[in-house]
Amino acid sequence: MVELAELTAGLDRQARRRARLRESAVSFAMMGPAVLLYTVMTVVPVGVAVYLSLTDWDGFSAAAFIGLDNYKHLFDDPSSSEAWYVTALIATAGTVLMVGLGLVYALALKGRSRANSFFRAVAYFPHVISALILGYLWAAILGTNGAINNTLAKFGIEPLGFLFDEQFALISLIGVIVWAGFGFNVVLFVAALQTVPAELLEAAAIDGASKRQINLRIVIPMIAPVVTVATVLNLVGLIRAYDIVVSLTGGGPAGSTQTFTYLILARSFEGTKVGYATAQAVFLMVVSAVLALVVTALRNRQDQAATGS
């Protein structure tokens, strides 16, 4: 830091300024490499995306600046509005189910026994596996030639269209997403439940409250802030769903399970509407930024509440 000898010797202004300069230089050397790499690989691409979104670039010829035209037509074409519907449905239905199941199983598994921690791990494990691989596994189970339909066929039952009926495919996709993701909420909620003071629950039980009353009136309200954070985390994660769509349904049948990110990447590779696709990417970024800001605000409030008590 600052040479102590110099300080005690004179304390003259020049030496102090030199010390401060060296201090800044060291700080700069410490932060510089990280800032540089992050700027070039993350911030600049976002800038490029914003620029491309204002052009009609097709991936080959020269790009012409067309202002906000791409944004005006964000919902015009049928496949984009379909993708928005699919993404919104996955995000909302998926979040509701994941949070709901998370709460149910967290209440059942909150105790600190070995059995409970085993079941928590059972619920959690898909979270560490690549969504792409999980999608392929489920495709091998739910597909036309999958384990379930082949078993049904032995009993003479017609194959079910888990993945080839348009509406059923979307339900299957949401089901697999929930299967893979709700365990994360279980763990999150259990951590919160274990901080609820036992005396409180004992007092309520002595006053004659039933188990259900205790859970609904005391326990869940007490962990409400964590439930809110989990809700927004799930929403932010699900509006970006991509890998699992690629492997489970490939966006099909007939585009009925194309999410927004899937559409953006598919279009960018067709190479015809890159400008338009980046406008959608920028829009998606704004939506997830708004949701992420909400989570930050909620978290800050929660932290303040925690320090206040």
Binding site: M30, Y38, A108, R120, I133, L137, D303, A306
Partner: protein
């Protein structure tokens, strides 16, 4: 932030002291049949897919199609598994090597860059430095997959398109925001007096960080390593799009993707390859369960 972190880290130690004292666990719960139905359903739904994966990886195509759920004791075969292990194309085992190389390289570079940066941010009282933290935090709002296309153009400009270096640069950059955020939060809980003592003993700031502060950051470093390793290992979009097939490099996920696009109906290839792809992560999870769960939870909630 600090409060939340302290709780998450303290809990495992606090657990044995309180063990089983919560009223809910002793009364009612273990005896209620509803609970066991709930847990039974959970177990079946979560484990059956894994069971199918393991069993069918060792069966013939005919057995998989006829009796997917059964274990034909006489018909089990290692033939397809060994074929997958030695397959010349889209080999998942080869994918392990390249993916592990990526994971280690990204982990090391991330720590080398994020550590000192977080230290400088955490120990500075200047407004300017706090803006740097906000600048990094903004990165957590960016949906990586959706803006991967512009990354290609940037890599092309700096001559790193379609190279492993380019992929590593992108991956390291993508790990920086959350890593720096977690490190800053942790370093702020370490008393500044320790730094002052090191300064008086004549250590420079880099030396103070690497020799004194960094060893104290172990819990945060473990969290960051787990978070980044699992993230990079499972990543599909970045390697798929930033490394074209002509590069000849396949990660576990891109190898499975390339393979299954070709042989999707041959279940004797699908199941063994999927099992090979899942096995390392699941084994890692079983051994490091508690660290992984707490690491990923802290990372997601705070990052």
């Amino acid at each position: 932030m600090v409060v939340l972190e302290a709780k998450v880290h303290d809990r495992p130690q606090a657990a044995p002291a309180k063990g089983g004292k919560a009223p809910g666990t002793e009364r009612g719960e273990p005896r209620s049949p509803g609970r066991w139905v709930l847990l039974g359903v959970l177990f079946v739904i979560m484990i059956v897919p894994v069971y199918l994966l393991v069993v069918n990886a060792f069966k013939s195509q005919q057995d998989i199609l006829d009796n997917p759920f059964s274990i034909p004791l006489s018909g089990l075969t290692f033939e397809h598994m060994s074929a997958a292990v030695s397959s010349p194309q889209f080999n998942v085992i080869d994918g392990y090597g390249f993916t592990l190389f990526l994971v280690v390289l990204v982990d090391v570079l991330c720590i080398l860059l994020a550590g000192p940066a977080a230290y400088a941010i955490a120990r500075s009282l200047k407004r300017r430095t706090q803006l740097v933290l906000l600048y990094f935090l903004a990165g957590t709002f960016i949906p990586g997959a959706a803006v991967i296309i512009p990354v290609i153009y940037v890599l092309r400009e700096i001559g790193l398109a379609n190279t492993v270096t380019g992929l590593v640069a992108h991956d390291v950059a993508s790990t920086l925001p959350v890593s720096i955020f977690l490190f800053v939060g942790f370093i702020r809980t370490i008393p500044v007096d320790i730094d002052h003592a090191a300064t008086i003993d004549g250590a420079g700031r880099f030396r103070t960080f690497w020799a004194i502060i960094f060893p104290l950051m172990r819990p945060a470093v473990v969290t960051v390593l787990i978070l980044n390793s699992i993230g990079i290992w499972n990543d599909f979009v970045s390697p798929q799009i930033l490394l074209s097939p002509s590069s000849g490099h396949y990660t576990v996920t891109t190898a499975v993707y390339a393979g299954i696009s070709q042989y999707s109906t041959d279940l004797t290839k699908v199941f063994p390859n999927l099992l090979l792809a899942i096995a390392p992560v699941v084994i890692f999870f079983i051994y490091m369960q508690r660290h992984i769960i707490s690491g990923l939870t802290v990372g997601a909630v705070k990052g």
